[in-house]
């Protein structure tokens, strides 16, 4: 089939403002990834088109874009999911993710996103000496299960840049940073949950979340982002330890 691309272009070196550019590709197959088609445009038609990508199978988190109005990884969306069945052509609109400054074409400045990430203590804290026998700290499969979902995050920013609260106020830490905090708050081995909860209870923390739910469908890793945010809100109110215990008794499904 034919693919008609409409791509948001902007190179501050040469353009006064962003504009739309159209490209057409022939011989497009339903199983083609949007990333492959962007490569075809870049490699066959216009080498100036700029976008990030690396692993090309939905794991590295480089190529989050707004495709037909929704945040997705270009390498994880197939033409078949954008085209009507049996269609002769498909129209694909591609823009940079929203809420972060555009550097060039589909590439945005990720620094504000990573600054929010760094702000929530996104690292393991345990100040006790490790076990005297030199082996691993023990953790039961049930304790491990309650934070499994949030360990999947690849920091692609698809959730944060789909969030209207973040669009309205860039100082909001955003869903991805909260998911990262959740991963440690609910880890039985970690000792800094209360500090993280204090950070997230501040005005630019979780309470800016209005439960709009854009983040959950935007996540290419199928993390239940809104639920994780809700659990952090509950942990602020109940204390991390009680909230962990509650999640354990409910089998990890709050």
């Amino acid at each position: 089939m034919k693919a008609h691309f409409r791509i948001r272009r902007f190179n501050p070196e040469t353009n006064a403002k962003p504009y739309w550019q159209d490209f057409t590709l022939d011989n497009v197959a339903p199983a083609d990834r949007v990333l492959e088609l962007l490569h075809r445009i870049k490699w066959e038609q216009d080498g100036t088109l700029a976008f990030r990508r690396s692993c090309a199978h939905g794991v590295c988190g480089s190529d989050a874009m707004r495709i037909n109005g929704r945040n997705m990884l270009a390498c994880k969306v197939l033409v078949s999911s954008l085209a009507a069945e049996g269609a002769e052509s498909v129209t694909i609109q591609v823009e940079p993710i929203l809420g972060l400054p555009v550097i060039k074409d589909l590439i945005v400045d990720m620094e504000p996103f990573f600054a929010h990430y760094r702000a929530v203590m996104p690292y393991f804290v345990n100040n006790d000496p490790p076990p005297a026998d030199g082996r691993e700290r023990r953790q039961s499969p049930e304790e491990r299960a309650i934070f499994d979902d949030s360990t999947k995050c690849i920091l692609c920013a698809a959730c944060t840049t789909s969030c209207p609260s973040f669009w309205a106020n860039g100082s909001y830490v955003g869903p991805a940073a909260i998911v990262q905090a959740h991963r440690f708050i609910f880890d039985s081995r970690d000792q800094a949950a209360e500090q993280r909860l204090d950070i997230l209870a501040a005005p630019d923390g979780v309470w800016r979340c209005r439960t709009i739910f854009n983040c959950t469908p935007a996540c290419p890793r199928e993390i239940e982002v809104t639920r994780a945010i809700g659990e952090v809100k509950l942990a602020i109110q109940m204390g991390a330890e009680r909230m962990r215990a509650r999640k354990m008794t409910r089998g990890g499904t709050e």
């Binding site: 199983a31 990834r33 590295c60 996104p122």
Partner: protein, 597 residues
């Protein structure tokens, strides 16, 4: 041009680079350590590793580091240096425990210890049956390692230069490490990083081939840069094809699928590995299985005549084979959902297949470089086959050839390698930096990089880089892949020479700008790939034997008389020189034997 001064610069921010950075900074109090990466660190390819990290923890059954060492040597078809394998297998245990202490969320056994699974080539040395040695976190173990190490780097306030692409290695007149040159991708400006020590950790170069599990960014930058500076590359002919890439795309389908009981079936529904590896069947070494799949395809036993086979992990099939083997294990849909969630996702997304109900279409995919920048067991880069080193230069992880993987790497040993030798590189570089001074820079240190970038930014020939890349990848896949012949390799070398001439004299690019010019960066990476491809082919031509991943149809037997040695390739006056004088270290006493699984 901007100039920075550091004690230690780490190039690459995957598992090896981040581990090296952590150890370098911890071992150099008050010192300055920087990590430079062309990607944001969390985009590094370590994050795509799936099945597990190998270590003889013995959490579920008897295991010993000596067994891990022997399996590694046998898997490497006896080309592994046994002094390095000893370090790998012994230190694997403390490395995995250290990752756990850093917070890595491993899956757990009911007693709270780290869970382990079976993996190809890892055996109980008494019974010869598969042993549970692969420590895992679902099927995203590499993701967890990368995230954990990056988190710890943030905690320890390591300095990062994200999206800076290193393009040259600086050496002083007396041959010491003096720093690196990088382009800041966002602005196109050049930066000179003066440093006492440099640790290379840029990973592999699977993008030399047309079907690969590797990220687009794996373009062999590290080896190409050192090669152009006259330093040797070791054992470049050994590149692993993983047997189970998702058909058509090459996306990795972890060996963990077979570790959980999955089997390979040909077009007749036969479990063909019973014929090629009667004892451990589908859990034989990767080289053995990739060759078996090619032979099945060649004999017309692909699925429906197409060039792929089936990887079947449906509970129905798995449980039937387990019952036949008298194994009491059984799996169900929940097992697969819990242990292989990402594999389910890949198969559904890219192939429209649900592995719980249907077999997965797979074919071999270019996966891992056993060869690379030669180092000794202290991660010091070798200047020549006689073992002399380049002061201040280190390498670790896939980019390095230490050589633990020999002619073929066992699954899970890549992650072990990253942690064990990343740790050593960081420690040793810190020791060196404590006593070394900062060598003077050569005159015009960024000149050569500037000249090449200017050439790319202004070239006006007739050939697009994409065309050159496609032809390189196809010729390497056809002639320097799973099976090789002298004739085929020579044809590939001739094509590569033509492509290099076109790259030099007839290239055209569209983007003339400075800001995030990925047109120029991709072309530069293509230059690196072409160099690495040519060394690979030349090394493959000279090794007239079959060993591990290097399988010569015209020399089908292993030849220990002539080739129980490493290949050292060096660029001398524009010509590739090959040296086969460096013997394999046999210090653990594992003498070469016939290799059967």
């Amino acid at each position: 041009m901007h100039t920075h001064e550091f004690d230690i610069v780490v190039v690459g921010a995957g598992g090896a680079g981040l581990m090296a950075a952590l150890y370098a900074s911890q071992n150099l109090p008050g010192g300055k350590v920087a990590v430079i990466s062309k990607l944001y660190p969390t985009r590094s390819h370590t994050g795509t590793a799936q099945g597990g990290i190998g270590a003889a923890l013995g959490n579920l059954e008897e295991d010993h580091w000596e067994w891990h060492a022997f399996d590694t040597v046998k898997g490497g078809d006896y080309l592994s240096d046994q002094n390095a394998v000893r370090v790998l297998a012994q230190e694997a245990i403390s490395a995995v425990i250290e990752l756990e202490h850093l917070g890595l969320p491993f899956d757990r056994n009911p007693d709270g210890t780290i869970s382990q699974r079976r993996f190809g080539g890892h055996t109980n040395n008494k019974t010869r049956q598969p042993v549970r040695r692969a420590c895992h976190a679902a099927d995203r173990t590499g993701h967890m390692i990368l995230q954990t190490l990056y988190q710890q780097c943030i905690k320890n306030q390591i300095t990062f230069f994200d999206e800076y692409h290193v393009m040259d290695q600086l050496l002083s007149d007396d041959g010491r490490t003096a720093g690196v040159v990088a382009i800041q991708i966002g602005t196109g400006e050049l930066h000179v990083f003066r440093s006492k020590a440099v640790i290379w950790a840029t990973g592999g170069w699977g993008r030399v081939w047309s079907v690969t599990s590797n990220a687009h960014s794996l373009t062999g930058d590290g080896p190409a840069i050192l090669w152009r500076r006259g330093l040797p590359l070791e054992d470049m002919e050994f590149f692993q094809f993983h047997p189970t890439g998702l058909y058509g795309l090459g996306v990795l389908i972890t060996e963990g699928v077979r570790g959980e009981g999955g089997v390979l079936l040909n077009g007749r529904g036969e479990r063909f590995m019973e014929r090629y590896a009667p004892t451990i069947k589908d859990l034989a070494s990767r080289d053995v299985i990739s060759r078996a799949i090619y032979l099945e395809l060649k004999a017309g036993r692909g699925i429906g005549g197409k060039p792929y086979v089936h990887l079947d992990v449906t509970p129905k099939t798995v449980n039937r084979y387990l019952a036949e083997a008298g194994d009491s294990r059984r799996i169900d849909a929940a097992t697969i959902h819990q242990k292989l969630p990402d594999i389910l996702d890949f198969c559904k997304t890219y192939a429209g297949v649900d592995p719980v109900e249907q077999p997965i279409p797979v074919a071999p995919t270019a996966h891992y470089a056993m060869g690379g920048i030669p180092t000794n067991v202290d991660a010091e880069v070798l200047a020549a086959a006689d073992g002399t080193i380049v002061p201040g230069l280190y390498a670790a992880g896939e980019v390095a050839c230490v050589s633990v993987h020999g002619a073929n790497r066992l699954g899970t040993n890549s992650l072990t390698d990253l942690i064990v030798f990343g740790r050593i590189a960081g420690k040793k570089a810190a020791e060196y930096a404590r006593s070394a001074d900062l060598p003077p820079l050569p005159p015009d240190p960024s000149g050569p990089v500037q000249a090449e970038l200017d050439r790319l930014r202004t070239c006006k020939g007739g050939t697009r880089p994409g065309e050159i890349r496609r032809r390189m990848q196809e010729t390497m896949m056809d002639h320097v892949g799973v099976f090789r012949t002298a004739e085929g390799i020579q044809a590939a070398l001739a094509t590569l020479r033509d492509l290099k001439a076109a790259f030099r004299d007839d290239l055209t690019l569209d983007d003339r700008g400075y800001r995030f010019n990925t047109d120029v960066l991709e072309a530069w990476e293509l230059g690196a790939l072409l160099d690495v491809a040519e060394v690979t082919a030349a090394s493959a031509l000279a090794r007239q034997e079959s060993r591990g991943a290097h399988s010569r149809e015209d020399f089908p037997k292993r030849d220990d008389e002539r080739f129980l040695v490493h290949t050292f390739a060096t660029l001398v006056d524009g010509e590739i020189q090959l040296n086969h004088s460096r013997p394999v270290d046999l210090s653990l006493g594992y003498q070469p034997q016939e290799r059967v699984y």
